[in-house]
């Protein structure tokens, strides 16, 4: 009986491909969510800082101080 290595390769290859792609999708999606989570946490933190700082300032002009620390970092 001929060996049909092509079929063997197809079977193993397909299995590896499908499962590998699925695994990669899971990993990617997890990274996406991690980054999104971090970005959200960061903006929440920055918003809180700015508000807290503003409430401590006596300034009524509404202009933020020009010190870099009080400005929200660029995204």
């Amino acid at each position: 009986m001929p060996d049909n290595w092509g079929f063997v390769a197809a079977a193993y290859g397909l299995t590896a491909l499908v499962l590998g792609l699925y695994w990669r999708r899971l990993v990617r999606r997890e990274k996406e969510l991690d980054h999104a989570g971090e970005a959200r946490a960061r903006t929440a933190r920055d918003a809180a800082t700015t508000v807290a700082e503003r409430s401590r300032q006596p300034s009524r002009s509404g202009h933020p101080r020009s010190e870099p620390a009080s400005r929200p970092p660029l995204p």
Binding site: M1, D3, A11, V18, E30
Partner: protein, 215 residues
Amino acid sequence: MVRTLGWLSAAALALGLVMAFGVAPREVSQGNVQRIMYVHPPLAWVAYLAFGVVAAASIAYLVRRAPGADRLAHASAEVGVLFTGLAIATGSIWGKPTWGTWWTWDARLTSVAILFVMYLGYLLLRGTVEDRERAARYCAVLGIVAALDMPLVHFSVYWWRTLHQPPSLMKPGGFTGSAAILWPLLVNLAAFTVLYAYLVAKRVRLLRAEAEALA
């Protein structure tokens, strides 16, 4: 924990691969095509295992309404449908050179095909029902019905094929091989099971993160 599973499955799969080609001999009657039988039965086994987990998690969800149970069912269904599809595909790829045909309605293939369609229905229901809590409940019921149905499917399909019919070429049970064939099979069986556990764990974690992101 999940990472350990990941490394473990990678190692086990590697070992399984080596054994399937290094340890296992060239089969006498079928030739090297028989080596597909070191992935096909493990895939089929996981297909059924995954469905069992869907059923168990579904029952747990209906009884306790824990979102974790629902996530487990969802994840197991997703991973399960992949394994089932691959089981069918690899079985078909093996069948072409061996039986001469891509498909035949023999008892086992038919049962796995029905299992596949049930998985698809489950995932379709999940995707179609918009409210998440409702989707969880409905899918739980479907999971239970489908799982309880599988033994009935087995018997009916088996009787359908074997009564008044000559037995199919591929006998379901009966292992008569040597250790050189048994061990690669067992290792791959374990490896694919660990891989299943790893993928489900990752998927559950992802589902939980997605749920929290929406909250």
